[in-house]
């Protein structure tokens, strides 16, 4: 799994590619937490367009970061998950608490 973390319009933007499981979860969690802790950022956009696989470990990383920003009134947005990823997100119930958008510009407009 690869990812790029950037700050755009005062939002932490994480663009992920590949398979999100136990092999990558710890590093992703640490890097996202470091980026949040070292800034005043409250919102996160997770672009999932290039994520080809996710399981409950990956969902846990998302839920953990969602809880973290929610505590300070922040929001999280998920962008464009592929069908097999979307199925897991829906089955977990995560999409009922975290908004999902079809592209980044829509996500920026809604949570920015």
């Amino acid at each position: 799994m690869q990812w790029k973390i950037s700050v755009e319009e005062n939002i932490l933007v994480v663009r992920l590619a590949g398979e999100l499981d136990l092999g990558s979860a710890d590093t992703l969690r640490t890097e996202m937490d470091d980026a949040l802790d070292s800034s005043q950022l409250r919102h996160i956009i997770l672009n999932l367009a290039d994520v080809t696989y996710i399981d409950s470990t990956g969902l846990g990383v998302m839920l953990g970061r969602y809880k973290k920003v929610s505590k300070y009134g922040g929001k999280m947005a998920l962008v464009n998950p592929q069908p097999q990823v979307k199925k897991i997100l829906e089955l977990s119930g995560l999409t009922s608490i975290i908004e999902e958008y079809s592209d980044e510009s829509e996500a920026f407009a809604q949570i920015g």
Binding site: L22, G23, L59, G60, L63, Q84, L91
Partner: protein, 147 residues
Amino acid sequence: MKINNKFKLQIKSVPDNVAFARVTAAAFASQLDFTLNELEEIKVALSEAVTNSIVHGYENNDNNYIELAVSLTEAGMEMCVEDNGKGIEDISQAMEPAYSTDPERMGLGFVFMQSFMDNFKVESEKNKGVKVVMFKKVSSVDGKPEH
């Protein structure tokens, strides 16, 4: 049911082996007529079982081993994932949705295994490891036209 093909694998309890195990099982499963969707479900179910062994059974200690045995029959594929870790004291509690001993985890591992597999069984005792046996039916077997 006659076993047409089978493999056994012993993998170290390291996180990178979750992907290795699921890709190997999915490649083996492709010897049957599983749909792409079914192969995705097999990958998730197996990953959850191996992840549980690493995270819960061995508490992230990477110096242990997980046994994987996968068999193909005409009806489908059976996957057995076994560890020698700390075991589960209360299986019914562990199977409850959203039950997790770790706040960073969603407690959905067993839920996904149950949802995606046609048969699912967990055997465990405290300090005696966990054995998960799952079976995925080939859906095309049911719908196969008669000749």
